[in-house]
């Protein structure tokens, strides 16, 4: 069995999976797609009521939740779409220009 962790951009073709299939789940977790971001959401913790509306709206599961409270963004997977800012009823999320985490 060929594991995703053993495949990288230097792997010879003979050691890749034939159809490009991946023999394990959840491999996107380790892939940094945050670099694709051109706008970045800021979490304003003081304004947040933890209503959790932003969480299911996030297309990239980039808003972690712990013990009933949302935490700061998972910037490794947030692509900066801005949906969270749009749905937040309490102005607790603000989009700023640029991909960098401020």
């Amino acid at each position: 069995m060929i594991h995703a962790k053993d495949i990288n951009e230097h792997t010879p073709y003979e050691e890749l999976t034939p159809g490009g299939e991946i023999y394990e789940p959840g491999t996107a977790r380790g892939f940094n797609t945050g670099t694709w971001r051109t706008d970045t959401p800021l979490f304003i913790a003081d304004a947040c009521k933890h209503c959790m509306l932003c969480v299911p709206f996030c297309p990239d599961i980039a808003i972690p939740v712990k013990d009933g409270k949302r935490l700061d963004f998972d910037y490794m997977h947030c692509k900066g779409c801005g949906i969270c800012e749009n749905v937040c009823p309490f102005s607790a999320i603000k989009m700023v220009s640029g991909g960098a985490v401020v």
Partner: protein, 394 residues
Amino acid sequence: MSICFSGNEAVAYAMKQINPDVMGAFPITPSTEIPEYFAKYVANGEVNTEYVTVESEHSSMSVCIAAEAAGARAVSATSSCGLALMYELLYVAASSRLPITLACVNRALSGPININNDHSDSMGARDAGWIQIYAENNQEAYDNFIMAMPVGENVRLPVMTCMDGFITSHAVENIELLETDVVRKFVGEYKPENYLLKKENPLAVGPYDISAYYMEHKVMQAQAMKMAKARILEVAAQFEKISGRHYGLLDEYRMEDAELALVLIGSSAGTAKAAIDKLREEGVKAGLIKVRVFRPFPGEELAKALSNTKAVAVMDKSEGFSANGGPLFAETRNALFDQKERPYLIDIVYGLGGRDFKVEDVEKVFGRLKNIAATGEIGPVYTHFGHRQRGEQA
């Protein structure tokens, strides 16, 4: 057992004997009878197949892809524009390395709309990464379908078994059937190493392939197609043991001392053989090479088979619009390039949209070859045959 079957019924019966897990079914002339016969087998409880009726060929191939990825054995049948509608999915099936088996009943592509035979449908899909095996007659259509799975599942490539629409699909001939238990044993169980329904390890099929990986996967696919040649011959040898019928990549007819030869695909081989027998009686050293396997293309084998000929006509039953000859001609000329001694080679595009090709037409082609061999004057290399043109009597 000897029985009277049309080509379509022969393929449907082969499917029944194999008892595949899934069929993606959508009708199109002239392949419609295949899912039609098969629906009867399903309704009668003669097979356990999940018969999925869909809204298009794009979907019937999608069904096959999903089923095969899940770990099931999937089949379908189509023709002409149906195959064209599958185009995107043909590539997905091949590059995901899913060994689906598709019966292609060759019919002209629109437009103008035409339901009769030529090879423009499957020739248009010749670079999709599918193995392509062509039948001359009903017996071969049956045999090829039974051999397809042991070939495709071994090298992980999908297989298209082709037969000529109406000429083969609807004509009824006596064929020899194998016993069902013999077929089942020959084809065996489909046991992929990894598949979607294998609960021990969840699997992702068809993920995005960035530039750093795509080329490596194409090299693997190309290697598999090269390996398929040996596998086709291996399976053919095993098949000969159970059937007594011999199959190669090419079928050579009276080629031992042939000076003039035709290279062609499909049912026209029968017509050509009759003409060659006649010409042989008249002392003409005529022969035929029927290309049975077009993908992978048996280039070396073809060059060897043509090595002692003087003049050869490649008969293309599809146009291709390269302005440089049809697809079979391109492959044949390519195959001959490495030979020190090469025959004169011409391309004749014929039989488009069901245009008849008779014994006397074959004789006319040999007449042209005879003239070329005698004079060394090849004339126009790429021509059409059997169409009306000014200055010719009807």
